[in-house]
C-alpha cells in the first residue's frame, strides 16, 4: 500500500503546486525581498555570527510560511476524499516528502541569493550543504504536522508560528551550531556529533509525525 500510494501522493502534491504557479512565484519573491532587505539594512560585510543567525532566522520564517500552506487547501470535501482513498501514514509521508523536496530547493535558493546579496563567507561548502539538507528534512517533518494541527483549529498563520517556533528550537540550535563550524571551515570531526544529533532528530520527528497524524486525521 505504501509503495503504491506514496509516489502517487507526492506526484499529486507537485501537480497541484505547479498548477497554481503563483504560489511558488510568490515564495520566490518573498525570499528575494527578505534577503534584499537584510542586505540593504547592513550595507557592509557582516560578522560571521550575525551572518549565520540572520540566515537561519530567514530560513525559519520562510519554511514556516511555506509549509503553513500545506494543509490549507484541504477543504472539507477534499479531506473526506483523501480519508477514503489513502491511509493516514501514506498521506502524511507524502506531505513530508513533498515538503522536504520543496524546502531543500528553497533553502538552496535562499542561500544562493543570501550569498549573493549579503556576501558568501562559508568556507566549507560541503558541510554547509549537508546541514541545509538535514535541517530542511527535519523542518519539513515538524512543520507538516504543525500545519495539520493549525489547519484543524481555525487555521491562522499566527497559530502556526506560535505552535512551531518553540518545537523547532532544538533543531534550529543544532543547525546553527554546525553551520557556524562550516562557516569557520573547522575539521569535520568537530561536527560529527552534531550531524549525528541532526540525523537522530530527523528520525524522531518523522516517526512521531507519522504516528500522531493518524489521530489528527479522523474527524
Amino acid at each position: 500500500m505504501l509503495k503504491q500510494q506514496l509516489p502517487a501522493l507526492i506526484r499529486k502534491e507537485f501537480l497541484l503546486e505547479f498548477r497554481q504557479r503563483s504560489t511558488l512565484a510568490g515564495i520566490a519573491v518573498y525570499i528575494i525581498a527578505t534577503v534584499f532587505i537584510s542586505a540593504l539594512s547592513f550595507k557592509q560585510k557582516i560578522h560571521p555570527i550575525v551572518w549565520n543567525a540572520l540566515f537561519w532566522v530567514i530560513f525559519t520564517f520562510i519554511t514556516v510560511n511555506v509549509s503553513g500552506k500545506s494543509f490549507v487547501q484541504e477543504t472539507k470535501g477534499k479531506a473526506l476524499y483523501n480519508y477514503l482513498y489513502y491511509g493516514a501514514r501514506e498521506f502524511i509521508l507524502g506531505k513530508i516528502v513533498y515538503n522536504m523536496i520543496l524546502m531543500a530547493v528553497l533553502s538552496l535558493f535562499t542561500f544562493f541569493f543570501y550569498g549573493w546579496f549579503v556576501g558568501n563567507i562559508v568556507q566549507d561548502m560541503g558541510l554547509f550543504m549537508l546541514v541545509l539538507l538535514f535541517s530542511s528534512t527535519a523542518f519539513s517533518g515538524v512543520l507538516s504536522l504543525m500545519s495539520a494541527i493549525a489547519s484543524k483549529s481555525g487555521n491562522n498563520m499566527s497559530l502556526m508560528a506560535i505552535l512551531s517556533f518553540p518545537v523547532l528550537m532544538p533543531l534550529l540550535l543544532v543547525s546553527i551550531k554546525v553551520s557556524k563550524n562550516a562557516i569557520d571551515g573547522l575539521a569535520w570531526s568537530v561536527s560529527y556529533n552534531y550531524l549525528l544529533i541532526l540525523v537522530m532528530l530527523n528520525f524522531v520527528v518523522i516517526t512521531l509525525a507519522t504516528l500522531l497524524f493518524n489521530y489528527l486525521w479522523r474527524e
Partner: protein
C-alpha cells in the same frame, strides 16, 4: 475527605522550611549560604516536570480510549505544571541575582530549556482555546502535547552538549552532589522533592474536581 498524603506533603514542606534554613551546609565558594535554594528551587522544578509528564501520560491515554476524563486531567496537569514554573522561575532568578549577579542569562542551557518549556505550554493553551468543538480540541491538543513533550525532552538532553551550563554541578561549578554525600543536605533535599511532588498532586486534585464540576454543570 482529606487524604493522608495531603497532610504528609504539608508536614514535609514545613520540615524542609524549618530544617532547611537551620541545618549546617558545606561552605562552598560562590554558593555560600545560597546553596539552601536547592531545597526549594530544584524540588519545584521536579514537581513541574512530574506534572508535565502526568499530562503527557493522560494525553496518550486519551488518544487510546477517546474519553473526555483523560483530556480533562491532561489539561489540568499542564496548567498545574505551568503554574509551578512561576515559583520555580522566581526562586531561580532571585538565586541567580545573588550568585551570578544577573536575573537571567542566555548562556545557560537549563534556563533556555525552561524558557522553551514555558513557551511550549503557552502555545498548548492557545491551541486549546482556539478550538471550540470539545472532542476535536481534546484530540488535537493531545497530539500537540505528545509531540511537544518529546521535542522538549530532546532539547533538554542535547542542549548541554551545545553550551556549558553555569548551574552548580556543571562546568566546574561547585555543587553538593560532587562533594560526596553531604548527608545533612540530603536529609532535607530528598524529602523536599517528595513533599513538592505530593503538593503538586494535591493542587491537581483540587483543580480536577473543580473542572469536573464545571464540565458536568455545562453538559447537563
Amino acid at each position: 475527605m482529606i487524604k493522608w498524603w495531603k497532610i504528609l506533603s504539608v508536614l514535609i514542606i514545613l520540615y524542609t522550611l524549618v530544617w532547611g534554613l537551620l541545618n549546617p551546609v558545606p561552605k562552598l565558594a560562590i554558593l555560600h549560604e545560597s546553596i539552601r535554594n536547592v531545597y526549594f528551587h530544584v524540588p519545584i522544578w521536579f514537581a513541574m516536570l512530574f506534572q508535565m509528564g502526568y499530562s503527557v501520560v493522560f494525553a496518550v491515554k486519551h488518544l487510546y480510549k477517546n474519553d473526555m476524563r483523560s483530556d480533562l486531567i491532561s489539561d489540568q496537569a499542564a496548567q498545574t505544571g505551568l503554574f509551578l514554573s512561576i515559583p520555580g522561575l522566581l526562586t531561580g532568578c532571585m538565586w541567580a541575582k545573588f550568585t551570578w549577579g544577573t536575573w537571567w542569562t542566555f548562556e545557560d542551557p537549563k534556563l533556555n530549556g525552561v524558557a522553551i518549556a514555558v513557551l511550549i505550554y503557552l502555545a498548548y493553551f492557545i491551541l486549546r482555546s482556539s478550538i471550540t468543538d470539545e472532542l476535536k480540541r481534546a484530540r488535537i491538543s493531545a497530539v500537540y502535547n505528545i509531540f511537544a513533550f518529546v521535542m522538549m525532552f530532546v532539547f533538554i538532553m542535547i542542549l548541554p552538549r551545545l553550551t556549558d551550563s553555569l548551574h552548580p554541578g556543571n562546568g566546574n561549578n561547585p555543587a553538593f552532589g560532587k562533594y560526596d554525600l553531604d548527608n545533612s543536605m540530603r536529609t532535607v533535599f530528598y524529602p523536599a522533592v517528595i513533599g513538592w511532588v505530593l503538593l503538586s498532586l494535591w493542587i491537581l486534585d483540587v483543580k480536577k474536581r473543580l473542572a469536573t464540576l464545571k464540565y458536568n454543570s455545562e453538559n447537563d
